[in-house]
Symmetry: D2
Subunit: 247 residues, 4 copies
């Protein structure tokens, strides 16, 4: 790997984040951000031991000083002039299916803190790296991708908390796409409309067969595809769902 | 005025909030919530001196304990069993047209605090009153209305902060409409797509004539219309703009 | 009734069309268009015998020459300079819930012919009357309203035929709203998201009680409300559904 | 090339259609449909002389009998059991930027005939081939892609004719995606939101540099990417625009 440009992935866990990190690690040194080091340690080891480079940084994405520290750590590790080819925001929080009057304020705020404020802080932290990636003539246009969900476009009953944060994040991504596209940064939003096939969802949709859940590696491929789109053909938004999904 | 049901208006100022309060005060005692008492004092006096009843309560809509105090004040004033016929959320914050990398975290958080968390706290505070309004056989279905903006459906460049809060609020309103419609509460969202004709906007669009701005009293009439829709014909969302507006 | 301005309703039958015609007939002489005279004869009689004025014209809304004849008949009846205060397009066709490969080309074309081409011909026929209504200082801004459906915004499986025509009609209404708003004509689109309570739907949703279906008179009231909005506060789109509807 | 499965492209001309045909011809024998043989003759020659296989069939996509003839020709050429791996609908018509009252009925109908009825006929013709592709275990899920435009999601003033057909086509694609996804056919819709860089648009946006227009080959790559998505990760809709495009 000879790229001087890095990829930054926020919200690394045993699902989409890990698949995305592995995919981009084949080309770029990757920075793995997660609150709990357990979520990136084995993944970083795996990438580092298989010829790639990964650096994990324990980060609370909704805390301005924690995100600032992560930026400093990245500069210390890769040099203060390092540019980024990709930044992927995969964090989420505040998921709760509950009657509205029973939703604790803490859960509602958690959704906003992670999805909306976290998306904001991650974007303010990563865009300067991405703009440097433009200056440094990244092979593919530097790309900022946000992971959305069904709840990003449909706010169902009992889902007020999660949906609110996810709509906010989608708004952020659209505004950024409009502002930074002309500056050469590709901003995208992916609506993941279904259950992702990860350890945590093992028991779900079992009776519907192995194709009823989204492949996390497939999502990573789709993110890579977005990353490789040329400056003449940017996609802001894709939806992704299993063929058998009802929608 | 013989109604025992009240109307609650959050975000009262010299614009839409005041027009809405006056309109609903013709039928219901109104509770006026604003952070700064200056924003409701003269309006309350005006309503009270012209045969209506208005009670102003200084409230920070994004602060759980302040909202809780407002609820207590309402119960003290109108009785602990009082029901509401209408609750209107008209607060907003975090408006800033600025390149994303120059948006202070405080402004971004302000938008989320007022529009998203404020909308949440107001809804959790007012829905129990509205559900009592259903029990008490309100003449018109008790109604919860949220004031949106162009930025509720379009996140333009340089508008990330305001749009993020407004999309979040729209999501909240949609989820609540789905949950509380079947319980008899009518939840609506109004997309105000243009400049409202209020003292603060006096200088704007002057060359386009008096019809280039939305009438605040007109918006109040539209909210009243939403309020009077029967349980068989609920509208979740309306857009409102001057005839001459480009969109 | 002293109005010199007329209202034109296309797609009159024993449901929304009749309710809308009755509502607007309280203020304006109404022209009733339907292919089959049976659909307007008793309604016209009812309106004429109760102090209003109604003229029925047998019209195939998807046939250019038939629509042209209707325009001539209107001018003959009301004078060649007559203006219109309202025009409501309520026709639809091509409803079929069927696997796509079993949809006959005739049914698919029927949907396009009535909803899309019919909407086009009706608009081209009625807009000159509405623009005259603007010149003649109609009390309320002359209004062109299109009746949409759930299928106007969601194209479900097995519903390709109906949805295709309805999306086309919605597009037409949006383009016209943008073009004719600045000329003083108010163009609106109503998404009727549920079953309307009319003779034909008597057996549907019976177990869910009388409030599970939309009131046709309620829809007429909503159309009237749209009609009375001032030029500063135009709504392009409303959705309408029973409170208990799942959406 | 060993694939027994074919790709069918409707609306071949010197732009997107040709790029898509070339791209898919690298893997599949391609059938080129266009009304005017001039639009596919040199392309077919080019593909055939460079190791691929292309068959051009003169077809009026809005004429049922012409489309039926095309189906017969395909079966005669490739065998009556031939399956398809991909079918791409790239035809459009009825583009006219004009005040609504000056739009000839013929132009409006042309848009509906090509985009809506043409999309219908092409889908009914190609889906049986695509379903056979599923049975014959196509390497990638058989894919039906529709080319949309800005006017597929926004009906601007003066654009009623083109927008109406394009919204109808989008509705069709959504309904088909929901019906045929569970049967293993991947149905997608691409919103081409900008000017495509083809001979006909040579003079447009010249002052904005070479990156202000969409690359037709880039669109073809994106269609290929959609085609290669696995059955667990289907995208219904993508938008595509130059980085510098205002939207």
């Amino acid at each position: 790997m000879t790229s001087k440009l890095i990829a930054i992935v926020a919200g690394v866990g045993p699902g989409t984040g890990a698949s995305v990190a592995r995919k981009f690690a084949a080309t770029y040194p990757v920075v793995l951000l997660a609150r709990n080091p357990e979520n990136f340690e084995s993944l970083a080891k795996e990438i580092n031991s298989s010829g790639g480079k990964a650096v994990g940084i324990s980060t609370d994405i909704s805390d301005p000083s924690s995100v600032k520290n992560a930026v400093e750590s990245i500069k210390k590790e890769f040099g203060s002039d390092v540019g980024a080819a990709a930044a992927i925001f995969n964090a989420s929080g505040g998921f709760l299916r509950k009657p509205f009057l029973e939703v604790p304020e803490e859960v509602f705020s958690k959704s906003l803190d992670v999805s909306a404020k976290g998306g904001f802080l991650f974007s303010q932290a990563s865009l300067p790296f991405l703009l440097k990636g433009v200056e440094q003539k990244s092979q593919y246009p530097p790309t900022l991708i946000f992971t959305g969900a069904t709840a990003s476009v449909k706010a169902n009953a009992l889902m007020s908390s999660f949906a609110t944060g996810k709509w906010a994040l989608r708004a952020l991504s659209q505004s950024l796409a409009r502002e930074f596209g002309p500056q050469g940064v590709h901003v995208s939003h992916a609506i993941i409309d279904g259950v992702i096939d990860i350890p945590r969802t093992k028991e779900r949709l079992k009776d519907q067969g192995p194709e009823a859940k989204l492949s996390a590696d497939g999502i990573a491929n789709d993110y890579w595809w977005l990353h490789t789109q040329p400056v003449t053909n940017f996609t802001w938004e894709i939806d992704l769902r299993p063929a058998v999904e009802k929608w």
